[in-house]
Each structure stands twice: as structure tokens, then as C-alpha cells.
Symmetry: C2
Subunit: 272 residues, 2 copies
Amino acid sequence: MKRTAFFISDGTGITAEALGNSLLAQFGSIQFNKVTLPYIDSIDKAAVAVETIDQAGLDDGYRPLVFDTVVDEAIRKVISTSSAYKIDVFSSFLKPLELELGSHSSYSVGKSHSINEVNTYMDRIESVNFAMENDDGGRTQHYDKADIILTGVSRCGKTPSCLYMALQFGIRAANYPLTDDDLNCPTLPEVLQPFQDKLFGLTIDPFQLAAIRHERRANSRYASLDQCEEEVRSVERMFRQQQIPFINTTHFSIEEIATRIIAQKGLQRRIK
Amino acid sequence: MKRTAFFISDGTGITAEALGNSLLAQFGSIQFNKVTLPYIDSIDKAAVAVETIDQAGLDDGYRPLVFDTVVDEAIRKVISTSSAYKIDVFSSFLKPLELELGSHSSYSVGKSHSINEVNTYMDRIESVNFAMENDDGGRTQHYDKADIILTGVSRCGKTPSCLYMALQFGIRAANYPLTDDDLNCPTLPEVLQPFQDKLFGLTIDPFQLAAIRHERRANSRYASLDQCEEEVRSVERMFRQQQIPFINTTHFSIEEIATRIIAQKGLQRRIK
């Protein structure tokens, strides 16, 4: 059984996807073919979308699911003519919210973040620049400006976690890789010592680390299970000795790593 | 009138935030104080959350709003004892979906993306590496492996857009900055010529460009309005002459830039 799920929006489709994915994840036994249709912002585009949806239903032999976050009522009406089973976010929640807030909604699209404002944009850009310039221990002289410094062995997820924190939350995140030399030393690397309170460690299952490193440098010592096991053992010992809080990233997505660090360290987001 | 809105989840809180922000954006006249409470995954944490919510209600003089994507029913029940006005995503949509799909939901948390799988993780990491290594024209020899090459003047949004496409969608995005020299030349820069079909242009309002550049290098020629106007005029002429599709990023968020490029170029996402 294959069913197609459409995430339909007059904006980016990100909200429809997030909501739809959360709900569909509850039905692990069913395979969904997921299709995002963003920027459905006219009656004409909606009519084309309806054709696409109905065709998927014919192909699948099951009616598709539609997760709809279109704001405009006229466009939603067109979407609702499709044969799909429809979860209509605005119909479900907006009227009751209007009552609760004693205010009419403006039915405006794409205001879900106020990221158009120059200030927020700047925060984001600044944070992305910071993450890129302070990636992989490349520079260490700006650690005083960091909100957080991630550390751990090579390929444990530091870089994408930093970039995600920067892009999504405007957090200034640096990262410093711990090498064999660092790990064989009983003290923290000197450049990190003044910033003990900003440090956060990432660790990972050695098997997964070996698999990830293998993609990068196949059959190298660097990617060998022995080496990975040794590094992970050493780095976790260092985290404990130096009282650096850390999480194991093996079963976490980048989103989870980032949000857990933020929650655990109580970091202030510059973008909400 | 100030009202506090809580986004509550047993996972990252990203879905609750996306949904809540979309709905609240419809009420532009009301100031919301937004608070995300992620990882509310036990009865105890839920009880603490309820205290926080109720306190906000007392402080504001209005009952708070709660956008709840907690999967576990027992935890949701605790949340529902708060004084808040509650939008409960799973109660609203999960039962009807169960009926439609003829399947019981597994009530499992944090599966909204299957990004725990090593393959997807690899795609993500590879794409992030690609974006970082091929940022700002630093390297150009791997453009054959790029899904897309963004181009435009300095500070028009190329780097964050590339990183976002990489992190969120697993797209391999390079970017190449067009300098004065490039813009004074009647042909495309040589390194870009073989990749005409991968090029996508970004342009921006000169005033906003000047403001952004001013943050970087205050009072420089680089940040002057004259210089910005001249560059933007030249780059848009080049995009038209060379038939490079482009968008104006002035009023778009990074999410919008990325998703519009993907839609317009029909790029295939490696992460869904």
C-alpha cells in the first residue's frame, strides 16, 4: 500500500511539511510518497495542484492525503475540490483563535517568521558568518564572542549543528575538533581553557563514526573501527574529567542536537 | 495587550513553532511573547510547564496560548490542566487520520524526519561540506557536482541560502560572487560558462545591500549606496543578457529564497 501525501502552502510549505511529517510519523507501517507543493498562491496554481492530487489518487488506488496551510480561503476552496482526504490547518484553528483573541485574522501569507526585517536578517547572517569563520578550530581568537563552542572528535556532527544553530536561531556557535594530540593530553587544549563555561561536547557511537568517516576516507586508519573506538573512549573520558556537558549524537538529528544543546545550556535565541 | 504563546513538544518543538508562528502571524495587531518548551517528555516536566504557563497568565493578565504537539496522551492531559487556551494538534488530527488510514498510530516522538538514518545523515553532511567548500568562489573545480550554483554581488544572501538548501534539503549548492571585474566584462566569468544551466542569480534592493554591507565595513566605498546601486544595476543586466533566472531577495527570508529556487529550478531534494 502506497499513499501519496501532499503538503500544500501558499508560502514555503515548511509549516505544512513539519505538521504533516509529525502526523505521518505516527503511522510507521504505511509508506508515504511525500510531495510538497509550495507557493500555491493563485486559483490557477490551485487548479493545477488539484489535477496533480487527483492523478496521484488514480495512480495509487487510494485517495491522497493533503496537509493544507494555504491562508487564502478562495484558494483553499479550490484545493478542497480534490478527491483527497484533507487536513486544513487554517479552517481548523483560525476561527477559534479569532474568537479567543477577539481579533480578526489578516489572512496574510508568509509572515510566519519576521525574518524580512533587516535586524533579524543581520543576526542570521552574522551568526552564519561566525559559524563558518570559527569552524573546525580554523580560528580561535573570537571565542570570546561565541555563545557556544562545540567540541568532539572529527565527524561527530559539530559543523552541521553549529550551522543549524546559526541559521535557525541566530546563535553564534564555534567548533573545535579534538585530535589525538589533544586527547592524549590530561588537560584541556589551551585555547579552550578560558571558555570552559561555553564548551559543549558531542560524542557518537564508534560504529557510526567509522561509517561516516569511511565515506570521507575509505579504508583509512582514520576510518578504522579501532581508531574510532579509541577516540570516542578518550573524548568521553575528557568530557567527564573536565566536566564538559555532552550528548551522544548517534540517534539524534541535527535539529535534535541543536535544540537539546540550546535547552541544556539555556542559550538565548536571537531569532524566534 | 501582551499575550504569551507557548510552543510545547516532547521533541524539538520545531513543528509546534512552525504551526504556532503561522497562525499567530495572522494577528498582526497583537504582540505575542513566544516561548518554546521542547522535550516535555515526562509527567514531571509537564507539571513544571503548567506552572510556567499559569504564571505567564497571571503576569500578562490574559490567559496564554498553548500550541501543543506532544504525542503522549498522559503528558498532554497534564498540559491541558493549565489555564491556557490550547491548540492540541494530535487530538485534533490524529484520530481522524487513524480512521482514514485504517491504522492505529504508534504515538512515537521525534520521528518527524527520518534523519537518524545513516544515509540521510550522510547526504546532509555531504551537502553541508559541499556548500562550505564551494562557498564564495573559493573553489570552482567541483562545480560539475553541484546541483545549483548561486551567483550575485557580495552580501546578497548567497551563503546562507546555500547552507539552508544543504541542511534542510540535502542539495549541493555552490556560490560564486560577482565582482566589479566580472560585472564590467560582457561575458560570463569563464569558470561559470560550462555550467550555465546550473546558475541562479540573486539580486537585492541597493538600499538594503548598503545597510547589510555597512554592518560589515562601515563607511567604506564597498558599503556606499552609489557602489551598491551600480553593482545591482550591472548584475541584473548580466542576468538578463546571459538568461540566468534570478530572484530579488529583498523581501524574502532565507527559507523563501531556498524554496523558491528549488521550485523554479525543479531541484530534487535528497532529504524529504
